[in-house]
Amino acid sequence: MIPIIIGVSIIIFFIISLVPGNFIDAKASTAHMTKEQIIHLKELYGIDDPIYIRYFNWIKGAIHGDFADSFAHQKPVSTVISTYVWNSFSIAIVAFILQLLIAIPIGIISATKQYSKTDYFFTVFALIGISLPSFFMGYVLIKTFAVDLKILPLGGLSSPGSNYNGLEFLIDRFRHMILPSIVLALLGIGSMMRYTRTAVLEIIKQDYIRTARAKGLSEKVVIYKHALRNALIPIVTLIGLSLPGLFSGAIITESIFGIPGIGRIALDAVSKRDYPLLMGFSMFVAVLTLLGNLLSDILYASVDPRVKLK
């Protein structure tokens, strides 16, 4: 895992360093700064050093848990990330639960009724979810529910100027989270439903399901007791794979709904040329991906008794 993290960090660092122009120059063009100040600041941030020295400085800090300071936020990158990540997570987890609650049942139903009208209906539904561009869907939802019908807020996480407490705050928060969660959930339902369908189909074709049917068990018991338990193995590993990703934020959805999440901060960082934050964020996401892989491997070994670790 560690060589992969190092490789990823080298590639991202290299790509980011290709960006011409820097934070100091960008700031100097708007705010009034003397030449000495600019040179001093550049020295302070080590902007004019050759790339490999900057990389080693960065990784030296990263090993000690210091990911440098964000230029734009004037705070350590780790602090910035940990401040905003929870907003992203709160929406992602709601979306994820919604996704599980919808995708798994319809996956099972369409597998048990393969090639029926219900199967076609759910398949089309799932494929529609995969095919919708998130930004377009987000805007269409805002247009219909927030602008035309005026029943949900336009965006953000709380009503501006409101000072709610307790229950009122929760309700307000919930109302703000509905649309982004729907967008995120719809994006994921498709693939998860297809995955469930394939998993169940594969199990249904097995010999022991035929045996169970031959024993005269009711179809309900065959599907929900014999088939489903085995089909859950790949589904559980998929859940493990996606759990860490819930923290990584959704760049496009967050920026459309104006949610102060980690994804939106990253997009802002691109426009502000805030390299330390970009670098920290990219590494954060990469580590989460790797964690997801690890988690799914561990889950696979612990859930499936056929897999034995040597």
């Binding site: 060589p3 992969i4 494929l127 919708l132 377009f136 805007y139 760049i251 426009s271 970009l278 990219s282």
Partner: protein
Amino acid sequence: MKKSIKNLTIISLILTVTCFFLPFLTFKDYRSISGIKLITRIFKRIELNKLSPNAQNYVFKSTSLPLLVTFFLFILTIGLIVYYIIKKNSTILATAVATSSIATVFYGIQLANSQTSMADFFGTLLITLKAADGKMIFKPADLYVQPGLGARLLVVFCFVSLIFVIALKVLDRVEMNKGDNIQTPWTMALKQFRRNKLAIVGIFLLATLVIICFYGPVFSKYSLLKTDILISKEKPSLAHIFGTDSSGRDILTRLMYGGRISITVGFIAVLLEVFIGTMVGGLAGYYGGKIDNMLMRLVDIFLSLPYLPVVIICGAIMSDVNIDPQKRIYFVMLIIGILGWPLMARLVRGQILTLREQEYMIAADALGLRDRHKITRHLIPNVIPNIIVTATLGIGDAILAESALSFLGLGVAMPFPSWGNIIQAVRDPNDFVLRTWLWIPAGICIFVTVLAINFVGDGLRDAFDPKMKK
């Protein structure tokens, strides 16, 4: 019946090809451009002929590589027809139609890009004709030129021949099925695919969209880049079916051009993915050992790269370096392709690892076949179904990625349209609320295209997977 269809096919094919060829042939008389000169000039991308100053048109203005391809395809088609006339064989006829159809696509794009038509071409030729006393015989005002007429004729001819050949193939099939029928894995998959209604719907949707996007501009009387502030943001009307955008350009026309760019970007990016992925995966799977280890670590690293952040950073770099908007399109393809190949590599490697242990590979070993032969003849063909499925679904993903990038203003840049950057109009709060025609059609286009691709990909997966049989 069959014979008359065959004859009609050949006639319409010859007509199509001659139609195609006429402008090329006339170049020879027109300011003495010889065939060789034409080709070298095409390579140098010199604008071929600036016609008389009265008619401000270029015959072939746009980039000329496609033109060259078209040129060779015409020659190939003619060769095939001649060969067919000597030796009757339906496969050759089908190939002839295929090459001429591909040529039509290229040619249509050329015509549309140059905003000209064959009628223009001949019209301007007539203008240059002079009487003995040096006066023009035809005045420019006499020549009413309707753009796109020639291209329309071409399309009609080509489609007529295409329909004929399909009819021919169907008749052949009917005849063949009377006798014995041998089932290869491909025909079985095809049969399975045809049974999938969704996939058929997807194919039709996709074909319609591609035809509209690649041919539509030929029929449009509006230009892609010409702006007219006076009619900006007009409501949909009969003249502008989807209205006009902020610079007064016809949205329907921009949607068609945008679709062309979006679809091409998706397709080329995936082609790149397939090429790199198959190569790396094939090498790793076949040779194993150290090579496998090294290549797979590389794949792991690329797989762990956060996709969207990296794409966005690359987009930002392109904006900073001030890449020419036309070249940006190629860079977008490159970025999406380079970030997409690791999945393909992993898939190919996994497949080859299992295939390598099969009995027929031992047989191939025992026969003493060369490595190259074993990989190309025995391993790759067995991986192709998987590659096709993944690649098809990948085109949809690539189109989505491109549209997201362009939407953020980091992908295909103005003045060139792509479906993603047409939706950018939504960022203006007034347009978002009041002028929905500026952004909704583009979103629907992306959605329908990707949906159709997913239908096809899904159908292909079911068709190739023996486990999925009814």
